[in-house]
Symmetry: C2
DNA sequence: CTGAAAGCGCTTACAG
DNA sequence: CTGAAAGCGCTTACAG
């Protein structure tokens, strides 16, 4: 089956009527519609997207921009795929397709986005891996391309919609929990890039220290990349200290794998010799020994929220989603593992 | 800048000439071309894809179909992102864009593919996660959509192009290596789905046993899902045996995380109490203790090969890629870790 | 309720 | 070397 014209000829009616029948317009005879839908099904007719897009001025396709880093980093394990699932669920309600646009390693994210937007392949965008200052916000605002963002940025305006994880909150609570377990020398590891989440995590860390009456010591802040190698490097630096911290917060769970190894190599035991709380639950963390204490959230729900926020930005659906919040800091729940044993267990192990 | 018409009016020339200039046609005055390119750059004009696609009958976009599973499984760590990078590199030579089409959890892959093909959003497809019998092959063949596949299938015809990893070869070599280290009771863990790679891995395993004069024992074949939880389950089953294997091959490296934990919980030591060789190098495997012995390949090169194979399938580029092989079983190289110590070290540890 | 016709933005034979 | 014109496949006001 080639096009709507062939389908119309086969049915002996006009292409206009076929189009109206297929698109669920009200003013089509019930029997006509039945015949059209049946013939389309039988002959496997699906409208050519280019024709539709050109005529309608929109593509019914939403783009999710992913950077190479966001996939290779620890977030790739289950987080992004599940967020994407939630997104697709929310969008599929209105027959909107989601396509993933992967910015190549080395390609400037801003140029990439500019090209995608100019080509008008997508009607709206979801962006992620936001930075403190992120030119994609003003660019999309200026281009008039509806978008939502997974992640905050100073560059976001009051009109922009985003969902972000409560990095501040979990860092604060993690410090307080460790304090209650008797720790007084609590370190933190965060990426050294200008990714927004690192700063928020450090803010929460400082706030937690303040609540507990502990002094902030810049020597306890370890800058490292958010993966296994980064965690290994942090571990080695800690092991080399004369006066080691007794606990650490990791803002990326994959760091724990490297941190565990560095301790194991040195004959030290994670959990006993260094209490560890990491940012996000992951399959790997669940099967480390000791099991990682971390924070949990429902990535599918995050995706659904992002999808609804996006729909509220699209003229065609805005009315249906007027009650969707404009921004959301996503709460996370502590999952108790074995990597930050309370004091009684600590002494038991010692 | 809206369309080519506005750009043409601004330059006081026809849209045809503007189009020819932008598309690098030979028969355009050099000075005219310069003016057009400059104006397009200044005004930020990029052709509307829908218009181009409709007129040309092709979109210059290639689709990579990913299933939810292929992202959530261990392969998401660095393998797929790097393959994608290689693909993009190969395609970008000819200004072809790659978009990722993610089949939702629960959506039938065949329906999904059918819809994507019918919509004509992409000119060609890359498919992955092939199965023993995979209806996507006959479907794409029948639809006349050029494609390549990452993975073999019985459903592939002689005309179809694919790249696959040498699962058979590595399983065989792993058995032989373990035999040389003194192991006589060698187990294997493979997924219980009909993913092609599982069968190939088991074939290689059997071949390795035969070479070494060892009997095949179906009780040493552990079916488990290709992730941490699956590896944990395998570990527990092995620990419960009266007569344990002394070595195991894993066809998914993420299984090792769970396997390590199950052994650790039981007071056993992976490597010493069970030699382990896993299918693919990964950041996690590098930082496990003991470090995982596994097989390495260059995922970027795999992606580049897939890209070239695909280009050889496209009429516009076939001539340039006539020397590209039609199929390729990708060799992998052993990376010595600490999880399958040779006999002398084994006794040293005991 | 249906048909005839216009036109979305682009590229490309064709004429000059 | 350039312009005028056709037409890719679709949807949608408009007329009836």
């Amino acid at each position: 089956m080639k096009g709507i014209r062939q389908l119309a000829e086969h049915l002996q009616i006009s292409t206009g009527t076929v189009s109206r029948a297929l698109n669920g317009k009200a003013d089509v005879n019930a029997e006509t519609r039945r015949r059209v839908l049946e013939a389309a099904e039988t002959l496997g007719y699906v409208p050519n997207q280019a024709g539709r897009s050109l005529r309608q001025g929109r593509s019914r396709t939403i783009g999710l921009m992913l950077s190479h880093d966001s996939m290779v980093g620890g977030a790739s394990d289950t987080f992004f795929p599940l967020v994407i699932n939630g997104l697709q669920e929310a969008l599929s309600v209105h027959s909107l397709d989601l396509i993933l646009l992967l910015c190549q390693r080395g390609e400037a994210p801003d140029d990439f986005l500019r090209r995608m937007v100019a080509q008008r392949i997508v009607d709206a965008m979801v962006i992620s891996s936001t930075r403190l200052e992120d030119p994609r916000f003003p660019f999309l605002n200026k281009a008039g391309m509806p978008f939502v963002s997974l992640g905050r940025s100073h560059s976001a305006t009051a009109d922009n919609r985003w969902v972000d994880l409560d990095f501040e909150g979990i860092a604060e609570r993690a410090v307080e929990r460790l304090y209650q377990h008797g720790h007084r020398k609590i370190a933190v590891a965060a990426p050294d890039t200008d990714v927004q989440l690192a700063e928020l995590f450090l803010d929460g860390y400082r706030r937690g220290l303040a609540h507990c009456g502990l002094d902030y010591d810049p020597d306890l802040v370890f800058r490292a990349e958010a993966h296994e190698q980064g965690g290994y490097a942090v571990g080695q630096r800690i092991i080399g200290l004369r006066n080691r911290p007794t606990a650490i917060l990791l803002n990326a769970e994959m760091m724990s794998v490297g941190l565990y190894r560095s301790f194991g190599e040195a004959g030290l035991q994670p959990g006993r010799d260094l209490a560890i709380i990491a940012e996000r639950e992951s399959p790997v963390g669940r099967f480390l020994l000791p099991r990682l204490t971390c924070f949990r959230l429902d990535p599918i729900a995050v995706g659904q929220m992002l999808g609804k926020m996006l729909l509220s930005q699209l003229p065609a659906f805005a009315d249906l989603y007027s009650d969707v919040p404009t921004t959301k800091i996503w709460p996370m729940e502590l999952v108790e593992g074995e990597s930050d044993p309370p004091p009684e267990k600590q002494s038991g192990l010692l």
